[in-house]
């Protein structure tokens, strides 16, 4: 599998079809309570706070954003591992938001998840064959006497040696364990696989093996992926479209190439400009937008645009009062910002405007915002 090096064909636009997965107004709030016996609700973590998203059959949708912005929570809501607080989830046009019991189990055949940690997610007391064959036994999709052959076939497919059927997980390296998790997810031929940081724990040279494998299998089974990762180069490489999250909301969504060359949301711009480039000459000419301050607390997200306390382009009062909606930009691109970035701002223009330089007028002549009071953009000030 890893030996064939045929070039992929550029993905055809797939968004003309009916979505496989559709989220409307999805929220997930975790209650914050005080007291041990009489729990009193004193607030909520707004982990996911109003997400609309469509994922099309056969595409890979990347999901990126700062730590704690709600990516894993959204993934678990999609998988129905978390009950959503608000909103609806549709899978193949059917409302699955509140499915239970048998129906939910049937749905799980079509949706699978792979996790970041290939060590923690495999039962150490079961053989690899038993782990991969478990979904067959649970769902009864393959007659008992055929399970072994079926499992060996999947092992072959993901690049594991079928002779290792009877080995235990500890005898495998990190990359091989990730293959085992992937084989288990594939067993029931799902339509959608949600990958939460599938390669972050692996060595660079092994990461590439797993990423190529994910791509090969996608073509073979016409799989759809939701792919979460910190490494933007990896996300751009695997994704047809990339959604950028900030504090529980999607702030921009576009094909990876567009996002990299023409980000519209200032947060995306900062993110793209911060990616380290493995090329010393390019690295020295690259313009970087430095974001001041930390991510605000998801317990009391800022009013208006959630990014305004850190945004180098924020204009008060509008950015602090009106929440921007996701609006079309370039074809296939939407962004939620009152004052979107100019084209190619990150790559060619000098828009080095961190807060302390706010007195310089931005290139389009708009007046930049005054630097906000730092006490506003600190998390933990919710006391």
């Amino acid at each position: 599998m890893s030996t064939h090096v045929a070039e992929r064909t550029e993905a055809a636009p797939r968004t003309d079809r009916a979505p496989l997965l559709k989220l409307t107004g999805i929220k997930k709030h975790f209650p914050l309570t005080r007291g041990i016996i009489f729990q009193k609700k004193i607030g909520a973590v707004h982990a996911v706070d109003g997400v609309d998203l469509e994922v099309y059959p056969g595409e890979t949708l990347g999901l990126v954003g700062e730590t704690g912005c709600g990516k894993s929570t959204l993934a678990r809501v999609i998988m129905r591992l978390h009950e959503s607080t608000e909103g609806t989830i549709q899978f193949e046009g059917r409302d699955i938001t509140h499915l239970e019991g048998k129906e939910l189990r049937a749905l799980r055949r079509n949706m699978q998840m792979i996790f970041q940690d290939p060590y923690a997610s495999l039962n150490p007391r079961k053989t690899v064959g038993a782990i991969i064959g478990e979904p067959f036994r649970l769902h009864g999709t393959v007659p008992k006497n055929r399970i072994r052959d079926e499992v060996k076939q999947i092992m072959q497919l993901v690049g594991l040696n079928p002779e290792h059927y009877n080995r235990y997980p500890h005898a495998f390296s990190g990359g091989q364990r990730q293959r085992i998790g992937f084989a288990r997810a594939l067993a029931l031929r799902p339509k959608l696989i949600v990958c939460d940081e599938p390669v972050s724990a692996l060595d660079v040279s092994i990461q590439a093996q797993i990423l190529n494998l994910l791509e090969d299998i996608q073509e073979e089974f016409n799989l759809t992926y939701v792919f979460i990762a910190h490494d933007l180069s990896v996300v751009k490489h695997v994704s047809d479209r990339v959604a950028v999250m900030y504090l529980g909301k999607i702030v921009e969504l576009a094909p990876g190439e567009t996002l990299y060359k023409n980000p519209k949301h200032p947060y995306t711009g900062a993110l793209m400009s911060a990616v380290p480039i493995a090329d010393p000459d390019l690295a020295t000419v690259k313009k970087r937008i430095i974001l001041e301050g930390d991510v605000p607390s998801p317990i009391n997200p800022p009013l208006g645009c959630r990014f305004h306390p850190r945004c180098p382009r924020a204009q008060l009062p509008i950015c602090a009062e009106q929440e921007p909606q996701l609006l079309p930009q370039h074809p296939g691109q939407v962004a939620a910002c009152h004052f979107p970035l100019e084209d190619r701002a990150v790559i060619t223009e000098d828009i080095e405007t961190p807060l302390h330089k706010a007195e310089d007028a931005p290139p389009d002549g708009q007046t930049a915002a005054k630097a906000p009071d730092p006490s506003q953009w600190e998390p933990g000030n919710a006391e």
Partner: protein, 329 residues
Amino acid sequence: MAEPLLEVKNLKVQFPTEDGVVKAVDGTSFSVAPGETLGVVGESFLTVMGLVTKREARISGEILFRGQDLLKLPPEDFREIRGAKISMIFQDPLTALNPVHRVGNQIAEVFQVHRKVSKKEAFDEAINLLQLVGIPEPAKRARRYPHEFSGGMRQRAMIAMALALSPDLIIADEPTTALDVTVQAQILDLIDQMKKEFDAAVILITHDLGVVAEHCDDIMVMYAGRMVEYGEARDIYYGAHHPYTWGLLQSIARMDQARTERLRPIKGQPPSLIHVPPGCPFNPRCPYVMDICRTEVPQLIPADGHHASACHLPLSEKERIVKEEVLVH
């Protein structure tokens, strides 16, 4: 180049285990000068300074700090130098910060122990440092506990602590792996800035070839406990001489790459450090392997002054391959 601050000569580190001896570092030599950042990439590199305190390790070779061999020092003198002159920054700040003490007190304690100043003075110094590393409202923050800080702020606090005594050498072991790119950029800039401020030397250990490209002067590539290549950043990125380095450069996804391009991973798995393959340790995974590679260990040989690699391929062949096969994307 300036006099080296740290000079490591033929360092070997082994751990006896039930399954056999782990050869974590197998004869490595290098040096760093003040104001310089040395990047370390690759599989298996034992964090040189941290390990010396590990009792279970068997260590041989020399670690010269300002010409003095740290391995020959009595433990208390070594701890003194380590505490005052060499600072470490780890991947996970929570392991370095004590969860039950206020952040400011932890930094202040470093001053009190090493500098015999009053509690009040030490705390004021701590606040100054928190300010220096870019923590807003440092006086207020100094009274908080580590868990009340975000990941990025904890990393800053740890850097503040590492800088408390103006160290000569800063060793950063994957300092930003757990952080996202915007915070990562801030922290790496901060380390650069601190290096200038204190005229310190920095050793930056990381898996991320992008990070080394932007922040390092020299780069050392390690494989199976050995240095397989050494050179200036430009030597490594534009003219690498070792098949493992080529493999690393080819296997990373790049932002400027078209989506249709396929990644080119290194085949196979990294070896166990107990059973390192004979000859060149990379030979089972190397696409250019020759007969000699299975029996003879290649030595680290300089091609021109600074740039050295440990591989049996003739230099002309390396230069051809890197031009014709590696750098064409």
